[in-house]
Amino acid sequence: MTDTERLVQRFIDQELSPEERMRFVARLGRDAALRQQVIDFEQLALDVSRLPRPGVPDGFVERVVAEAVPAPPAWRGVVNALLRPRTFHWNLASAGAVACLVLIGLAGLLTRPAVAPDATTATAATSTTAATAPRTVLVRLVVVRPGAATVAVAGDFNGWNPARTPLEPGSNGAWVVTIPLEPGRYEYMFVVNGQEWIADPFAAERTADGFGSENAVLDVRPDAGAV
């Protein structure tokens, strides 16, 4: 590059010092050809700045990420969610609420009556109660399904998992199971051959299950021996 070319270049790139710039502008006033060249360069820079830029096509970012970054296995998302550090934000209101809950819990523990005497009473009243669980009542469930290959029971007491409580085949198509339950109300259904869910036809009470069918209801009282 000649000195003049370098000077033009530095003028366009705004690299001249104020003194150099003044001298160059004065020279432009005297040199028409140089002046035209600078005007052309400036016009070019302006025209280039106005050139349309191609847009980013739809889905471009997603395509790039999908190709570049392998998708993590689904289980990793669960693990990450469990292990991700979290910041606990608190204020006086939430702290006060937590403190109240703790105090209520402590008060409940301190005012709770002794358990042992009641357990003894329940055990005494229920001749069939197991000795290792003083408040447990043994409940016998019976259903008649002749020809069934398997019968099980699912309910509140076993997490609605029929695999936990199969019935044993008895005589005349009867299926029987005896289960220890603490006093309370339980909903349950029998599961025949692993597929057919039926309510206990001998149940004294039934309730809607919310899915258009009914569950049997078992009311286990502390003073009951067996149902």
């Binding site: 790139d13 700045s49 980013v56 471009f60 570049a68 993590p72």
Partner: protein, 194 residues
Amino acid sequence: MTSHAGADDTTLVRASQRGDRDAFGILVSRYAPAIIGMTARMLGPAGDAEDIAQETFVAAYRSLSSFQLSSKFSTWLYRIAVNKCKDVLRARRPAVVSLDDGDTDEAAEESWQAVDDQTPHWELEQVELAWELGKGIDALPAVYRESFVLRHIEGLGYDEMSEVLGVNRDTLKMRVYKARTLLCRSLAHVVKQS
């Protein structure tokens, strides 16, 4: 992606190095316009600029573990894109333009002369100036075009251009000057005929 919204490049690069898809997606989204714009201008209308831009980002991600943050992410990205474009141009016209360092400027001068001689009768009066300007840029020899595009379209300074292209500042200034001169010469046809 919202968890990284507003994060700077360094934060996003570090997260991407740990395999964070969202962070890398933001980087792609942030630089896609520039990289697509540059590849489009470097490769011309038939250059599959979008494909090369995509290859640029994929290559960047696969090399991200070796990126030390000693230079700007954008500079590093431009360097990958420029090299991708050179590969395409080299495959396209291996016998016409040498893109290797050394006598590239002489080869570029000869190449431009050939292009200029072949197209003295463009139907200039029927086209817009912008279209002609784009065509003129596309017709520039590659070594001038890359310098001109980075300087005038992408707005990079000479220091960053030097880092991207691996060429010293004085050479880059000369190339940009040559590109300006050649473009003004080609656009003079437009001015005269319109």
